[in-house]
Every structure is written in structure tokens, then in C-alpha cells.
Symmetry: C2
Subunit: 151 residues, 2 copies
């Protein structure tokens, strides 16, 4: 298992929101009950989604959460990144904008060339990120479930 339940649960919440009519916010309690997940735990996850500006929140009675954008405009890469953090298969590949972190293999001044395993992990990372970016929330909700209001 490579992703934690943060991603698993969080994606479900997003899918649930996408499946609902977005005209009014959905209370997290309703989602928790429908999905059979602990409310208190979902609260943590949805906060991440909110800070990433993927959902809007309304407090108070009849409050809840709603997608900040149409489902088709929210890539799964954004969702997973918000929940799980940076997408990197191994520490070797962990983001270093400044390139400070090199595989321990590269410490020796690069005489032996770059870490031979780096190629593998960058490719794996690339393929994961690419497939996540190719999908949006709207790809998760079957047509029948989508609001057919405007039909």
C-alpha cells in the first residue's frame, strides 16, 4: 500500500462532493455517514483540502463544504498532493528545488556518476504524476450520478 488512507478517504470526500448537486454545501457529517468513515478524522483531511483551495467551506447551520471549482477543473494530482503531500516514490527523489538533497550515492563528488537508481524512481514518479494529472474529479463520477438538473 503506497498511499495512506488520507488519500483514499480524501478522494472519496471529493468524489462525494462532485457527485452532489453543488448548489449548496454538504455537511461533513453527512459524507462521513454515507461513506462509513469517522467524522472526526475526515475533519482533518478536509482541512487540507480547504487550505489547498480545493473546497470552499461555509460555517454554521446549513453549512458544509463544496467544490471550489467545477469537478472537471480539479485534477486528481492536486487532490492527492493536498492530502498526501509531495508525490515522491522514495526519498532519493524528494523535491529539492535547490537540488541540495542528492542520493547518498552522489556524495562522492559525482565521480561515479549520478545515483543509478535515480532514473528508475524519476520515471515511476513521472508516470504517477502524469496519470494523476490526466484525471479530473469528473472522471470519477458516473454520468447517471451527475446532476442532470440542467437537462
Amino acid at each position: 500500500m503506497m498511499f495512506s488512507t488520507k488519500a483514499e478517504y480524501g478522494v472519496r470526500v471529493m468524489a462525494h462532493l462532485a457527485a452532489c448537486d453543488g448548489s449548496q454545501p454538504v455537511a461533513l457529517g453527512a459524507i462521513a455517514e454515507a461513506e462509513g468513515l469517522p467524522l472526526a478524522y475526515l475533519e482533518h483531511l478536509v482541512q487540507r483540502l480547504r487550505r489547498a483551495e480545493l473546497v470552499d467551506s461555509r460555517r454554521g447551520a446549513h453549512g458544509g463544504y463544496s467544490l471550489s471549482r467545477p469537478a472537471g477543473a480539479i485534477s486528481m494530482a492536486e487532490v492527492v498532493a493536498a492530502l498526501e503531500g509531495e508525490i515522491a516514490p522514495v526519498e532519493c527523489i524528494s523535491a529539492d528545488p535547490d537540488g541540495s538533497l542528492v542520493c547518498s550515492r552522489e556524495r562522492d563528488g559525482g565521480a561515479s556518476g549520478p545515483c543509478p537508481t535515480k532514473l528508475l524512481w524519476t520515471r515511476v514518479q513521472g508516470s504517477i504524476v502524469r496519470t494523476l494529472e490526466e484525471m479530473t474529479l469528473s472522471d470519477l463520477i458516473p454520468e447517471t450520478t451527475t446532476k442532470r438538473v440542467s437537462v
Copy 2:
């Protein structure tokens, strides 16, 4: 970080073996020292590789490990699977040859259709497995390091 150091270290060991002349086994202690990794820990990992029949072992003096097959015939998918176990991004996708495990969303008799998030995770899994299967150990070792004996 999605893969543990088991995969990271184990792949390094395999890459090291692939880079060495395979005519005689390499002691794990030498690899541990060269890669700067704890020997006692590598022993665990290399046992997994051995049980998966990816490496051959020879005990006693001048013993060690060697690839069981030419590097080009060992896919990285095999290596990672041996080290990390089944490749599944989330529990939802965890292998059930018999299909017994369904997402909790699918418990309700499937009235609401299959778990909407399943599509996402199966695609992610597919892309990971595919890229791992496309690469072999020989892709990790630069030409210069490869034995140019038979040239």
C-alpha cells in the same frame, strides 16, 4: 514517500550486483560498505530477493550474491515486488484474486455502482506497474560501468 527504504536499498543492491562482473559472487559486506548502508539490514532485504529467486547465494569464504539471470532479463517490477510486496496504491486495490475484497463503498449490493474511486487507483497502479515492467536492471547501469569484456 510511497516506497519504503526496502525498495530503495534493495534496488541499490541489485544495481550494484548488475554493475559488478557477475563471474563471481559479491559479499554483502562489500556492497554495504560501498553503498553506505547497514549490513545487518541489507541481509533482510537480500533474503527477500533470494526467495524471489532474483539472486543466487553462495555461502562460506568468497561467498556472496550474484544475479540469478542477466540484468536485462530482470524487470524492476520483479525486484520491487520482491522487496515491497504487492504493488497497490491503496487498500481498495489490494489484490484479491477471488475478488472478495471490495471497497466499503461496494458493500451495499452495488446498488450505487462500483466504488467511484476505484477507477483512479487502478489507473495509478497500472501506470506504476507498467513503468516498472518496462525497465530492467540493465537500464540502471550506465554503459561505461557495464563489463565490456565480450567486446
